[in-house]
Protein backbone atom coordinates (compact mmCIF):
# COMPACT_ATOMS: atom_id res chain seq x y z
CA UNK A 1 0.00 0.00 0.00
CA UNK A 2 0.87 3.65 -0.16
CA UNK A 3 3.49 4.93 2.28
CA UNK A 4 3.26 8.42 3.80
CA UNK A 5 6.14 10.27 5.42
CA UNK A 6 5.75 13.54 7.29
CA UNK A 7 8.48 15.88 8.38
CA UNK A 8 9.57 17.18 10.74
CA UNK A 9 8.18 14.86 13.41
CA UNK A 10 8.34 17.62 16.03
CA UNK A 11 8.46 21.38 15.76
CA UNK A 12 8.62 24.11 18.39
CA UNK A 13 7.90 27.67 17.31
CA UNK A 14 7.83 31.02 18.97
CA UNK A 15 4.50 32.75 18.50
CA UNK A 16 4.54 34.77 15.30
CA UNK A 17 6.99 32.53 13.45
CA UNK A 18 6.29 30.80 10.14
CA UNK A 19 6.71 27.11 9.37
CA UNK A 20 6.48 24.57 6.57
CA UNK A 21 5.38 20.98 7.09
CA UNK A 22 6.07 18.39 4.43
CA UNK A 23 4.26 15.23 3.35
CA UNK A 24 5.77 12.73 0.92
CA UNK A 25 3.75 9.82 -0.45
CA UNK A 26 4.87 6.81 -2.40
CA UNK A 27 2.19 6.46 -5.08
CA UNK A 28 -0.21 8.52 -7.14
CA UNK A 29 -3.40 9.49 -5.32
CA UNK A 30 -6.82 10.89 -6.18
CA UNK A 31 -6.68 13.57 -3.55
CA UNK A 32 -5.07 14.54 -0.26
CA UNK A 33 -6.34 15.95 3.01
CA UNK A 34 -4.56 17.91 5.73
CA UNK A 35 -5.91 17.79 9.27
CA UNK A 36 -5.17 19.49 12.57
CA UNK A 37 -5.79 17.32 15.62
CA UNK A 38 -6.46 19.62 18.55
CA UNK A 39 -5.54 18.84 22.17
CA UNK A 40 -8.99 17.29 22.67
CA UNK A 41 -8.38 14.80 19.88
CA UNK A 42 -10.77 16.24 17.31
CA UNK A 43 -9.58 16.02 13.71
CA UNK A 44 -10.25 19.35 12.03
CA UNK A 45 -10.25 19.55 8.25
CA UNK A 46 -7.74 22.04 6.90
CA UNK A 47 -7.43 21.31 3.19
CA UNK A 48 -8.72 18.92 0.56
CA UNK A 49 -6.18 19.42 -2.20
CA UNK A 50 -5.32 17.05 -5.08
CA UNK A 51 -2.95 19.52 -6.72
CA UNK A 52 -2.11 23.19 -6.84
CA UNK A 53 -2.31 25.67 -3.99
CA UNK A 54 -5.10 26.65 -1.63
CA UNK A 55 -5.16 29.29 1.07
CA UNK A 56 -7.29 29.69 4.17
CA UNK A 57 -6.33 32.62 6.34
CA UNK A 58 -2.85 32.11 7.76
CA UNK A 59 -2.65 28.60 6.37
CA UNK A 60 -1.96 27.49 2.85
CA UNK A 61 -1.21 24.16 1.21
CA UNK A 62 0.45 23.10 -2.01
CA UNK A 63 0.31 19.63 -3.54
CA UNK A 64 2.57 18.61 -6.41
CA UNK A 65 0.96 15.33 -7.37
CA UNK A 66 3.47 14.49 -10.11
CA UNK A 67 6.30 14.65 -7.56
CA UNK A 68 4.23 13.05 -4.79
CA UNK A 69 4.48 15.62 -2.08
CA UNK A 70 2.41 18.23 -0.31
CA UNK A 71 3.38 21.19 1.85
CA UNK A 72 1.45 22.96 4.59
CA UNK A 73 2.47 26.53 5.38
CA UNK A 74 1.59 28.17 8.66
CA UNK A 75 2.29 31.88 8.87
CA UNK A 76 2.31 34.10 11.95
CA UNK A 77 1.77 31.09 14.20
CA UNK A 78 -0.43 31.34 17.29
CA UNK A 79 -0.58 29.20 20.41
CA UNK A 80 -3.90 27.82 19.21
CA UNK A 81 -2.07 26.28 16.25
CA UNK A 82 -0.48 23.78 18.62
CA UNK A 83 -1.41 20.16 18.09
CA UNK A 84 -0.69 17.42 15.60
CA UNK A 85 -0.87 17.94 11.85
CA UNK A 86 -1.65 14.97 9.65
CA UNK A 87 -1.60 14.58 5.92
CA UNK A 88 -3.59 11.75 4.43
CA UNK A 89 -3.64 10.79 0.77
CA UNK A 90 -7.13 9.79 -0.28
CA UNK A 91 -8.04 6.82 -2.39
CA UNK A 92 -11.03 4.77 -1.30
CA UNK A 93 -9.79 5.45 2.23
CA UNK A 94 -7.41 7.83 3.94
CA UNK A 95 -3.87 6.67 4.64
CA UNK A 96 -2.39 8.76 7.44
CA UNK A 97 1.17 9.82 8.01
CA UNK A 98 2.62 9.72 11.52
CA UNK A 99 1.99 13.43 11.94
CA UNK A 100 3.97 16.51 12.91
CA UNK A 101 3.64 17.61 16.54
CA UNK A 102 3.64 21.41 16.64
CA UNK A 103 4.11 23.43 19.81
CA UNK A 104 3.78 27.20 19.62
CA UNK A 105 5.16 29.06 22.63
CA UNK A 106 3.96 32.50 23.69
Amino acid sequence: GIQVEQSPPDLILQEGANSTLRCNFSDSVNNLQWFHQNPWGQLINLFYIPSGTKQNGRLSATTVATERYSLLYISSSQTTDSGVYFCAPLGNKLVFGAGTILRVKS
Binding site: N92, L94, F96, A98
Partner: protein, 113 residues
Protein backbone atom coordinates in the same frame (compact mmCIF):
# COMPACT_ATOMS: atom_id res chain seq x y z
CA UNK B 1 -25.70 21.24 9.70
CA UNK B 2 -24.78 18.70 12.32
CA UNK B 3 -21.45 16.97 12.06
CA UNK B 4 -20.55 13.34 12.62
CA UNK B 5 -21.52 12.17 16.09
CA UNK B 6 -20.26 9.17 18.02
CA UNK B 7 -21.31 7.47 21.21
CA UNK B 8 -20.26 6.78 23.83
CA UNK B 9 -17.42 9.29 24.13
CA UNK B 10 -15.64 7.01 26.60
CA UNK B 11 -15.99 3.32 27.31
CA UNK B 12 -14.19 1.27 29.91
CA UNK B 13 -14.68 -2.48 29.69
CA UNK B 14 -13.19 -5.61 31.14
CA UNK B 15 -11.11 -7.93 29.03
CA UNK B 16 -13.30 -10.53 27.36
CA UNK B 17 -16.46 -8.41 27.21
CA UNK B 18 -18.14 -7.30 23.99
CA UNK B 19 -18.56 -3.61 23.15
CA UNK B 20 -20.60 -1.67 20.60
CA UNK B 21 -19.62 1.75 19.32
CA UNK B 22 -22.05 3.92 17.41
CA UNK B 23 -21.60 6.47 14.63
CA UNK B 24 -24.13 8.90 13.15
CA UNK B 25 -22.82 10.31 9.86
CA UNK B 26 -23.59 13.68 8.33
CA UNK B 27 -27.02 13.60 6.75
CA UNK B 28 -26.84 12.83 3.04
CA UNK B 29 -23.38 11.27 3.18
CA UNK B 30 -23.34 7.89 1.49
CA UNK B 31 -19.86 6.81 2.57
CA UNK B 32 -18.97 5.97 6.17
CA UNK B 33 -15.57 4.96 7.52
CA UNK B 34 -14.13 3.62 10.77
CA UNK B 35 -10.53 4.32 11.80
CA UNK B 36 -8.58 3.59 14.95
CA UNK B 37 -5.93 5.72 16.62
CA UNK B 38 -3.55 4.04 19.03
CA UNK B 39 -0.14 4.95 20.40
CA UNK B 40 1.68 2.15 18.66
CA UNK B 41 -0.12 2.14 15.31
CA UNK B 42 -1.08 5.74 14.64
CA UNK B 43 -4.26 6.35 12.66
CA UNK B 44 -5.32 3.26 10.75
CA UNK B 45 -8.26 2.40 8.51
CA UNK B 46 -10.64 -0.34 9.66
CA UNK B 47 -13.66 -0.52 7.35
CA UNK B 48 -15.78 1.58 5.02
CA UNK B 49 -19.32 1.46 3.65
CA UNK B 50 -20.42 3.05 0.38
CA UNK B 51 -24.13 3.10 -0.27
CA UNK B 52 -25.51 -0.41 -0.71
CA UNK B 53 -22.21 -1.92 -1.86
CA UNK B 54 -20.44 -4.60 0.12
CA UNK B 55 -18.22 -2.96 2.76
CA UNK B 56 -14.45 -2.91 2.43
CA UNK B 57 -13.35 -4.83 5.54
CA UNK B 58 -9.69 -4.99 4.60
CA UNK B 59 -8.50 -3.04 7.63
CA UNK B 60 -10.22 -5.03 10.36
CA UNK B 61 -7.44 -6.47 12.56
CA UNK B 62 -9.19 -9.72 13.50
CA UNK B 63 -12.48 -11.57 13.20
CA UNK B 64 -13.45 -10.22 16.62
CA UNK B 65 -14.20 -6.94 14.85
CA UNK B 66 -17.35 -6.40 12.81
CA UNK B 67 -19.44 -3.48 11.67
CA UNK B 68 -22.81 -2.89 10.16
CA UNK B 69 -24.62 0.07 8.70
CA UNK B 70 -28.38 0.02 8.94
CA UNK B 71 -30.55 1.85 6.46
CA UNK B 72 -27.57 3.54 4.89
CA UNK B 73 -27.14 5.80 7.89
CA UNK B 74 -26.12 4.84 11.44
CA UNK B 75 -23.23 2.41 11.86
CA UNK B 76 -22.22 0.19 14.75
CA UNK B 77 -18.71 -1.19 15.26
CA UNK B 78 -18.70 -4.30 17.45
CA UNK B 79 -15.66 -5.75 19.15
CA UNK B 80 -16.14 -9.18 20.67
CA UNK B 81 -14.08 -10.64 23.49
CA UNK B 82 -12.11 -7.42 23.91
CA UNK B 83 -8.37 -7.58 24.52
CA UNK B 84 -6.09 -4.96 26.06
CA UNK B 85 -4.54 -4.25 22.67
CA UNK B 86 -7.98 -3.06 21.50
CA UNK B 87 -7.62 0.01 23.73
CA UNK B 88 -7.59 2.99 21.39
CA UNK B 89 -9.67 5.89 20.13
CA UNK B 90 -12.14 4.72 17.50
CA UNK B 91 -12.95 7.42 14.95
CA UNK B 92 -15.80 7.53 12.50
CA UNK B 93 -15.84 9.66 9.36
CA UNK B 94 -18.31 10.27 6.57
CA UNK B 95 -18.18 11.76 3.09
CA UNK B 96 -20.62 12.61 0.31
CA UNK B 97 -19.30 9.55 -1.54
CA UNK B 98 -16.08 7.60 -1.90
CA UNK B 99 -13.16 9.86 -2.94
CA UNK B 100 -14.84 12.95 -1.48
CA UNK B 101 -13.59 14.91 1.52
CA UNK B 102 -13.99 13.03 4.79
CA UNK B 103 -15.26 14.60 8.02
CA UNK B 104 -14.52 13.05 11.39
CA UNK B 105 -16.49 12.62 14.57
CA UNK B 106 -15.04 13.24 18.04
CA UNK B 107 -14.19 9.58 18.59
CA UNK B 108 -14.86 6.97 21.26
CA UNK B 109 -12.02 6.28 23.68
CA UNK B 110 -12.05 2.58 24.52
CA UNK B 111 -10.10 1.29 27.50
CA UNK B 112 -9.91 -2.44 28.10
CA UNK B 113 -8.84 -3.34 31.65
Amino acid sequence: GAGVSQSPSNKVTEKGKDVELRCDPISGHTALYWYRQSLGQGLEFLIYFQGNSAPDKSGLPSDRFSAERTGGSVSTLTIQRTQQEDSAVYLCASSFAILYEQYFGPGTRLTVT
